[in-house]
């Protein structure tokens, strides 16, 4: 029979092993880009922020309540930016969390397979729309709608309009993560409740939601992180007025909007405004990073309970 050589081939084995080692090295280097990026981001933000804090004291930055980066007299108290960011995020969550959780509960417990196969793509499409389009939607539909119905004195820019649109933006995220959390609840819990004669609503309220609470909390926090980091929708909808206010009908400036404002202008690289950009960026990163960590921890917790 014509055959394949059976001779022991130690030489080819050695070259194969060297080739294998090189390939493994290249693959590991690719994976390391992840670490390098994280280290890079943290380094850049930290270093530039330190330059900023050489000119503006951290105490003034973190506790000051007046922010005026372009108009003299300059002031760099970041509180107005933070409150504006949080206010918009809060409005977004007030919209997205109840609707998102309800939508998830409906898809997970009530809807038929056919309906679910229509709704899921709809939510996925909503999630995939670029945020600039949401910003556009805010100024062409939401703000006029609000003005025409309940707030006739509303200005062109408002935190409310931005908050609503960011809420629509994060709703799919809340819905899909909540659905994951509900799916992780074992069927036995549902069956036990139904067997005792509970209605579906009662099962949801008394058994499922409490059981999925960690997961839902994780979803909410992740959505908050997303809302905090949102840029284009708030830039178009909320404007660039860095005032300290809790009135959602006012025009405000978020951290992200400030960063965009500076980049759009012809700000020289060594100016205090440019350095402020990095300081605000570092603050933003710190907030979202912390929120993401909390969310991940919550997810790990509920996974452990059920697996």
């Amino acid at each position: 029979m014509a055959g394949v050589s059976t001779a022991h081939r130690p030489d080819s084995a050695a070259t194969t092993r060297r080739g294998e080692a090189l390939i493994e090295f290249l693959l590991r280097a690719s994976a390391a880009i992840g670490i390098i990026t994280t280290v890079g981001i943290v380094t850049v933000l930290l270093v530039e922020a330190i330059f900023f804090f050489g000119e503006v004291s951290p105490v003034d930055f973190f506790t000051g309540t007046r922010w005026s980066a372009s108009i003299l007299p300059y002031a760099f108290g970041v509180i107005p930016l933070i409150t504006s960011t949080l206010m918009i995020a809060f409005i977004a969550l007030v919209l997205a969390v109840p609707l998102g959780v309800l939508a998830a509960v409906w898809m997970s417990e009530f809807a038929s397979q056919r309906v679910r196969s229509i709704i899921k793509p709809v939510l996925e499409i909503l999630a995939g729309i670029p945020t600039i389009v949401y910003g556009f939607f805010a100024i062409t539909v939401i703000t006029p709608l609000l003005k025409a119905t309940i707030l006739p004195d509303l200005g062109t820019f408002s935190a409310l309009s931005a908050g609503i649109v960011v809420g629509i933006l994060v709703l799919p995220l809340v819905a899909s993560l909540t659905e994951d959390a509900l799916r992780a609840v074992p069927r036995g819990l549902r069956e036990g409740s139904y067997a005792l004669g509970a209605t579906r609503w009662e099962t949801v309220r008394r058994v499922l939601l409490p059981a999925a609470l960690s997961g839902i909390a994780a979803a909410v926090i992740l959505a908050m992180s997303r809302a905090v980091g949102e840029t284009m929708a708030v830039v178009l909808a909320a404007g660039t007025n860095p005032q300290l206010t809790l009135n959602p009908t006012e025009s405000v400036q978020t951290m992200t909007a400030f960063i965009v404002q500076i980049s759009l202008g012809d700000t020289p690289a060594e100016s205090i405004q440019f350095k402020a950009l990095f300081a605000v960026g570092a603050t933003l990163f710190a907030i979202t990073f912390t929120l993401n960590l909390i969310s991940a921890w919550l997810v790990a917790r509920y996974r452990n309970v059920y697996e």
Binding site: M1, A2, G3, V4, T6, H8, R9, P10, A13
Partner: protein, 285 residues
């Protein structure tokens, strides 16, 4: 060229001359130049011992069946021969497995080459999501043996009794075949690279009875050129298709050990150990 030792058919008296313990069985069978020799092999997964001090000889150009109740380490033992257990984290082996006189764990052994010379067919057929041709050619391409590949693929498919069924659709996906055909495809894939030993881990348990018989017939033909070791749950299969049988069972420590080994006919009709007699008569397992 593949060189074969002239096969000396072991006389009945040589293997049949039994001693009470399984260990000395191995020595008498080895007088016929076994393909594989296992000496005091124990296997651990972490702290759990799955196989305890197994010694056996696998005779050349014969079908050797490893039988026994489930969980007694038959597959673990089989997979240790071609070092597939290297892929399992926490696995450890003691004792020696000698293939053609060289320990499979020695420095001189290249595990890649070992696996070419000792092939494996798995319980559930696992053809690649490629064409029938490419499935069989896979091993040849690994070795860079692309000259005359068409002829080699045809030869392997013929030897696996699959050629007539697929010769007109070699470019069809391997997964489009039936279960029995897929398993014969996997056999063709394994023998394309001309191994010396073929390990089969319950190759028929996922197949219908007709395909099972086809594969058993195939095994009888293949031993002309290969040594076959088969793990099987199916006692009737072992009785039908094998020449030599090794009976393992689980001890109180949940580790598998060899109870008895010998010519198949003797194991099933005149076993030496009570445990063996109980198992082959269906009283347990």
């Amino acid at each position: 060229m593949n060189e074969r030792e002239p096969v000396t058919k072991p006389s009945v008296s040589q293997i049949g001359a039994t001693a009470p313990s399984g260990a000395t069985e191995a020595t008498s069978a080895s007088s016929t130049n076994p393909a594989l020799l296992l000496e005091n092999v124990s296997c651990w997964y972490g702290a759990f011992r799955a196989v305890r001090e197994v010694s056996l000889a696998i005779p050349r150009n014969k079908v050797t069946a490893l039988i026994g109740p489930s969980g007694c380490g038959k597959s673990t033992l089989l997979r240790s021969i071609n070092r597939m257990n290297d892929l399992v984290p926490g696995f450890r082996m003691e004792g020696e497995i000698a293939f053609e006189g060289t320990s499979v764990h020695s420095r001189a052994t290249d595990v890649i080459d070992l696996r070419r010379r000792v092939g494996m067919v798995f319980q559930k057929p696992n053809p690649f999501p490629k064409s029938i041709f490419e499935n069989v050619a896979f091993g040849l391409r690994l070795l860079g043996e692309t000259a005359g590949i068409d002829a080699l693929v045809e030869e392997s498919l013929r030897a696996a009794a699959l050629w007539d069924e697929v010769k007109d659709k070699l470019d069809q996906p391997g997964l489009s075949l039936s279960g029995g055909q897929q398993q014969r495809l996997c056999i063709a894939r394994a023998i394309a690279i001309r191994p010396e030993v073929i390990l089969m881990d319950e190759p028929c348990s996922a197949l219908d009875p007709k395909s099972t018989l086809q594969i058993e017939e195939l095994m009888r033909k293949l031993i002309r050129d290969y040594t076959i070791v088969i793990v099987t749950h199916n006692m009737q299969q072992a009785a039908r298709a094998s020449d030599y049988t090794v009976f393992l069972t689980m001890g109180d420590d949940r580790a598998g050990y060899v109870v008895e080994q010998g010519e198949t006919g003797k194991i099933f009709t005149a076993p030496q150990q009570q445990l063996t007699a109980d198992y082959v008569s269906g009283r347990f397992g």
